[in-house]
């Protein structure tokens, strides 16, 4: 099953479907913590912004009422004023601190919820949806995408809130001092705000390119690490180096271009802000001469304009961060809003008690989205305490049968029943306890062999399970193999188990599933890389299980089929033969031919 032909239903929604406001609304819905106590926070933020205009007011009062006072400089008056202003500053600062803390707490709680919800949802999605996306891209949705939002809140978000309030309060005070100058200052900044928007878009494009280049660069470098053996085996070092060098240069150039653009935008903000000073001085002095403005008020304007400068200079960067954060948010929400294809009946579901399991497929058909039918009209009963081998050529649909039985997929037609109950009505948690699959490539965690085999068991205490593990290993006839490992059960397997051979990884996965003690064990080519002696030993051990449980084995090697109670032959998506090995061999059909060729290969 590749990702080539999955329809929209099975893929995670891409970004661009939600607008900015819709994203924010949906985001708050998913993480209600974000809005907790927001009104109080906003009120405090207004108070904090008011604190910022105290210095310009003090300047105006000092100049007009102190320095240029009619009776000569009035030091006492200025001192009293300064103390009052200082108290106000402290109070405003305290408000700002409280606002920040409240925002951090609310946003981090909300984002933690978002992160965990998205993570869980990824596991709840069907394997089709999971496989339609690169694992790395799924990871980034619960890591860097959420981090982008967090970083934005910690830096840009607060800046945005503070800036807007600061500009509002500063404008109000400026209007009190002189509406003419206020209009003039705004007229100077408005053109900048107008050009900022398209510039910000270009900045965004430039940074998107940088991120793409960085991604390609890391991909190229990762080939030097993951493909290290191949590169050495074929002496491809020089070529790989050239490819990496090209990627490094491309990344460097893209970054320089993006930074140059941002630098130009930023310094034009600096230029405008300082040119406004010149405008204020010229226009203000004329207004003063006309009697509309005192020297103190004019000078206070110089300080008030400063409250504009910071926000305007940072605007492109904040807007850019905002857009990245919204895009990140959208990607995380897209995960959460991707419908789960294999829906858990949950508490409403049928209770499925432990015990011998009977599986029945009734008129089952399956097609991958937009794909041709893989299975059609499959009727099959797997009685309790039976071992069944499903055989067929590559691409015949036998692996799909396994996936339907363990409900990794739901059939597109017909029903799969466990003890007479449609799998869709069974509580998923109970189904997973009763029916366990061992995939061909059982993933191993970067831990010891012991920790990997007890992975499915309840309780975190791996060592406590050790006796049970040893029994299981012995039952499967694997004690000799285990003793041959450098540190036995305590042997670290490495990342993805890469310190073990493919066959050994399969053995670990098998022990893990065996320990889960399911009523039905489904083995999907689970011993394909194991040597024949070990494979036969395992098959025999599993065979003895049938007294309590059933096994369904998807097999390439027909030794398993020989040993099974029942052989199911699948050809081109249909069950063509069912019966015992000897019967089928005698009947001279497809299975007989397969078996002949198998025997000739092995003996």
């Amino acid at each position: 099953m590749t990702n080539a032909d999955t329809s929209a239903d099975h893929t995670i929604g891409s970004s661009g479907t939600l607008g900015v406001w819709a994203t924010l609304r949906r985001g708050v819905q998913v993480s209600p913590e974000l809005l907790e106590g927001f009104r109080v926070t906003l009120l405090l933020a207004v108070l904090a912004a008011c604190g910022r205009i105290l210095v310009p007011i003090a300047v105006q009062q000092t100049i007009d009422g102190g320095v240029l006072a009619s009776g000569g400089p009035d030091v006492t008056r200025v001192a009293v004023l300064a103390v009052l202003a200082a108290l106000g500053l402290l109070l405003g600062g305290a408000c700002a601190a409280v606002v920040n803390v409240r925002l951090f707490r609310a946003s981090e709680s909300g984002l933690a919820t978002l992160r965990v919800k998205a993570f869980r949802h990824v596991h709840d999605l069907s394997i089709l949806t999971q496989d339609s996306e690169r694992r790395g891209s799924l990871v980034s949705r619960v890591t860097s995408d959420v981090d982008t939002i967090s970083l934005f809140v910690q830096w840009g978000g607060i800046m945005l809130l503070v800036s807007i309030l600061q500009i509002a309060v500063a404008t109000a005070l400026m209007a009190v001092y002189s509406w003419q100058l206020t209009v003039l200052v705004w007229l100077c900044f408005v053109p900048l705000l107008v050009v900022l928007r398209p510039l910000q878009k270009r900045v965004n494009v430039a940074y998107t390119r940088v991120r793409e280049r960085v991604g390609a660069l890391l991909g190229a470098i990762s080939e030097a690490v993951v493909g290290a053996e191949t590169i050495r085996a074929y002496g491809a070092q020089a070529r790989t180096q050239r490819r990496i060098d090209t990627a490094i240069l491309a990344t460097r150039d893209a970054a320089v271009r993006a930074q140059n653009l941002v630098s130009l935008v930023f310094s034009s903000g600096v230029l405008v802000a300082n040119l406004v000073l010149a405008v204020v001085v010229v226009a203000g002095t004329y207004l003063g001469v006309a009697g509309a403005l005192s020297a103190g008020k004019l000078l206070a304007f110089l300080f008030l304009v400063q409250l504009f400068t910071g926000p305007v200079q940072m605007a492109t960067e904040v807007l850019n961060e905002l857009q990245n954060a919204v895009a990140g948010w959208r990607r995380v929400l897209a995960v959460i809003d991707t419908p789960v294809q294999v829906i858990d009946a949950g508490d409403a579901g049928v209770v499925s008690p432990r015990g011998p399991a009977t599986i029945e497929l009734r008129g089952v058909g399956f097609a991958y989205p937009d794909g041709p039918p893989v299975l059609s009209g499959v009727d099959l009963t797997i009685p309790a305490r039976t071992s069944v081998a499903v055989v067929g050529a590559t691409g015949s649909g036998k692996t799909t049968v396994a996936k339907l039985i363990v409900r990794l997929l739901d059939p597109t037609a017909g029903q799969v029943l466990l003890d007479g109950v449609d799998l869709r009505d069974v509580r998923l948690a109970e189904l997973r306890r009763r029916v366990v699959m061992v995939p061909q490539e059982g993933f191993l965690f970067d831990a010891t062999v012991l920790e990997n085999v007890v992975y499915g068991l309840p309780g975190a205490d791996a060592v406590g399970h050790e006796p049970a593990v040893r029994v299981a290993v012995a039952n499967l006839g694997l004690t000799g193999w285990l003793d041959g490992l450098p540190q036995g059960l305590a042997t670290p397997v490495g990342q993805r188990g890469d310190r073990l051979s493919a066959g050994e990884r399969q053995l670990v996965a098998l022990v893990r599933a065996y320990l889960a003690e399911a009523d039905l064990l489904v083995l999907d080519e689970a011993t394909s890389a194991v040597d024949p002696v070990t494979e036969v030993r395992i098959a025999r051990a599993l065979d003895s299980l049938k007294h309590g449980r059933s096994t369904v084995t998807i097999a390439h090697r027909l030794s398993t089929a020989e040993a099974s109670d029942l052989v199911v032959v699948i050809d081109a998506g249909r069950v063509v033969e069912v019966g015992h090995h000897t019967e089928l061999v005698a009947s001279g059909g497809i299975y007989a031919a397969m078996h002949r060729s198998w025997v000739s290969q092995t003996r």
Binding site: L54, V55, V59, T62, V67, L68, D74, V75, G93, A96, A97, V99, N100, L103, R105, E108, F119, V122, H123, I127, L138, V139, V142, T143, I221, A224, V225, A228, A233, Y234, G235, Q241, I244, I248, Q259, S263, F266, V270, L275, V281, V282, T285, L298, L299, L302, F303, T394, L408, F443, V471, P486, Q495, S501, R512, A529, P532, S559, T582, W598, Q601
Partner: protein
């Protein structure tokens, strides 16, 4: 710490001298003009604004020149800012590019034993986040240096105006620096912790999503969720802690220049009363303080990034300082148109039990992978290596092309110790196809030739097709829309396992090596196709000076493949148990007989067991209490 920090910054800037001269120079211009703005405003207040409002006609005539003066300084200031940011950014990305180039060279130069000791994720982090950490400090560095200039000029300007106002203005400076230091002391560990937790969360998510199928089949979603949630909550707490530090710091930093300004106003008024200064001097000093608010933070940024930079640099240095490639000789291995003789003499491989450490001979904690292997494989022979899972087969074959060096004994190709052979010759003449095929994110052609198109000696398209045909993957490639130019996704994700294996085989065959090593390289390939491929190897050697059969060493499980071999070597627990033809081993080697006839014997056993009253015996002990 301080010395290492200064060294780090000094070396970094010295490696891009031109860029940093421009960056620091622009930043100095920015520092000087920032002070100039406040001075000009002060002068304009004294000479134009106050007199003009008082009714001075000459002052009124100076209004426009005053405005132009401010505008002129503003232009220079903006240019300084632009230059500072552009060149600081350039220096920063150039440093990153330099680090990455050196790391990549090292990754390609180091032997496999070094790679095996280092986790993939760690090496990738070295090239990505560690490089970023090591260089981030260079972004605000020119800014901070410019601010030093700004301080010196500001101090001079204020002192020439009035000592008392200068004192009032500068009294907040030590406080600002102190707050910065305190802040960084608290911020850095909190930020490091959060960064570390972010890394851990990424690791968990990566592992958990890669394990998605296992998680589903064992129904352990809840367990994964709580594992992830536990870390996510810790990150939340760390982020909040970090946030609280900033939440307090930011208002304090905003507050200090404000308080300083108020002090300047009071002292300034007193000095005006004393007749020492005038209004403009107060305005200049107060305005300067508000201008300093942001720049003083540059020190905080540098201080804040420094510890991270040192740690990042250390981690990079560990990669860069690792000893070079393993010793190799420069003996030529002539391509003399026949399969090569392969010999192993007294070969043993031991590995340390803790794989992160390099092996020391005296280390008692080691596992034996291979011991006392003596083999002599005649040119052109096909030899099958057979043994149980974990016997050391893969280890043995990877010695032949030096992906691994033995800890004792020697490996010889045509009588030459492989350690004395030029690496390029070894790579050209000993081709190994591994168990899991690695596919590059490249075209089909690039993946087969591993050469650039214009490279001399690159195989022709005809040769590539011939290799694809021999590997029975030509039909797959013809069906791709771009043929040989079709791009294969990351790790060849658009191909099936068997197709990837056959493509990797074509990569080996296009070289027509003198020794071909197949490490279970066709396990995902249909047995019938596998037969065709193996048979083809012996008959298809035609033309292009390729009319010889290579010496083939193959690890195999399928008896049909083993039967194609001239000779079988039976390996168990790291030792050669026996060697000979299949029939000879069947006759005299019970272990081999077990392996070779496992299925057959099992069928027979079953046939007997199928007799009416021979129930298989009860097995499990756990079953009893179920």
């Amino acid at each position: 710490m301080l010395r290492r920090a200064v060294q780090l910054l000094g070396r970094g800037m010295a490696s891009e001298p031109r860029t940093y001269v421009l960056a620091v120079g622009s930043s100095a211009v920015f520092g000087v003009t920032t002070v100039a703005i406040s001075q000009v405003l002060g002068k304009v207040t004294n000479a134009v604004v106050v007199p003009a409002l008082d009714g001075s006609a000459s002052a009124r005539g100076d209004i426009w020149p005053a405005g132009l003066a401010i505008a002129a300084v503003a232009l220079v200031l903006a240019a300084g800012v632009a230059g500072r940011r552009i060149f600081a950014g350039m220096g920063y990305v150039d440093l990153q590019a330099g680090h990455r180039t050196r790391i990549a060279r090292q990754l390609l130069r180091q032997p496999m034993s070094w790679h095996r000791r280092h986790a993939t994720g760690q090496l990738l982090a070295n090239a990505s986040s560690d490089v970023e950490a090591a260089t981030a400090v260079f972004n605000p560095l020119p800014f901070a240096l410019g601010v030093v200039v700004m301080f010196v000029v500001a101090a001079a300007a204020l002192l020439t105006t009035d000592v008392w106002i200068a004192l009032a203005a500068f009294v907040i400076l030590p406080v600002v620096l102190l707050v910065n230091v305190v802040f960084e002391r608290r911020m850095t560990p909190a930020a490091t912790r959060a960064q570390q937790l972010r890394g851990e969360i990424a690791d968990i998510a990566h592992e958990s999503f890669e394990a998605a199928l296992v998680v589903k089949s064992l129904g352990t979603e809840d367990r994964e969720e709580s594992r992830f949630a536990e870390r996510a909550m810790r990150l939340r707490d760390a982020n909040v802690r970090l946030g609280v530090v900033r939440a307090v710091f930011d208002p304090v930093m905003d507050l200090l220049p404000g308080l300083g300004t108020l002090l300047v106003l009071v002292v300034g008024t007193a000095r005006v009363a004393a007749g020492a200064v005038n209004t403009g001097d107060i305005v200049a000093a107060a305005y300067l303080l508000t201008l300093l608010a942001v720049p003083v933070r540059a020190f905080g940024w540098v201080l804040g990034d420094l510890p991270r930079a040192l740690v990042g640099y250390e981690r990079i240095a560990r990669v860069l300082d690792a000893g070079g490639e393993p010793a190799h000789g420069d003996l030529r291995l002539p391509a003399d148109g026949r399969g090569a003789r392969v010999e192993l003499r007294g070969v043993g491989v031991r590995v340390p039990v803790r794989p992160s450490l390099p092996l020391r001979e005296s280390d008692p904690d080691h596992a034996v992978l291979l011991e006392d292997i003596d083999l002599d494989l005649a040119p052109g022979r096909t030899v099958a290596l057979v043994g149980p899972t974990g016997a050391g087969k893969t280890t043995l074959v990877t010695l032949l092309n030096r992906l691994w060096d033995p800890t004792s004994g020697t490996v010889l190709i045509d009588g030459v110790d492989v350690r004395d052979v030029r690496p390029a010759d070894l790579a050209a003449q000993v081709a190994l196809v591994a168990q899991s095929a690695f596919i590059f994110e490249d075209t089909v052609r690039g993946n087969v030739t591993l050469c650039d198109d214009e490279e001399p000696g690159a195989p022709t398209d005809a040769q590539v097709w011939a290799a694809l045909r021999l590997a029975r993957v030509d039909a797959v490639v013809s069906a791709l829309p771009g043929g040989l130019d079709s791009p294969l996704g990351e790790r060849g994700s658009s191909l099936s396992g068997g197709q990837r294996q056959r493509l990797a085989l074509a990569r080996a065959l296009v070289r027509w090596p003198r020794v071909l090593v197949l490490d279970d390289a066709t396990s995902a390939v249909d047995p019938r196709v596998e037969q065709q491929i193996l048979a083809g190897l012996r008959t298809a050697a035609r033309g292009d000076g390729r009319d010889f059969a290579p010496t083939v060493v193959m690890v195999a499980y399928r008896m049909s493949s083993v039967l194609l071999a001239d000779e079988v070597v039976h390996l168990d627990a790291g030792r050669v148990v026996d060697r000979g033809t299949h029939d000879e081993l069947i006759a005299r080697d019970p272990g081999y007989r077990d392996l070779a006839t496992a299925y057959e014997r099992e069928s027979e056993r079953r046939a007997v067991a199928a007799e009416p009253d021979s129930e298989p015996q009860e097995l499990t002990t756990q079953e009893a209490d179920r």
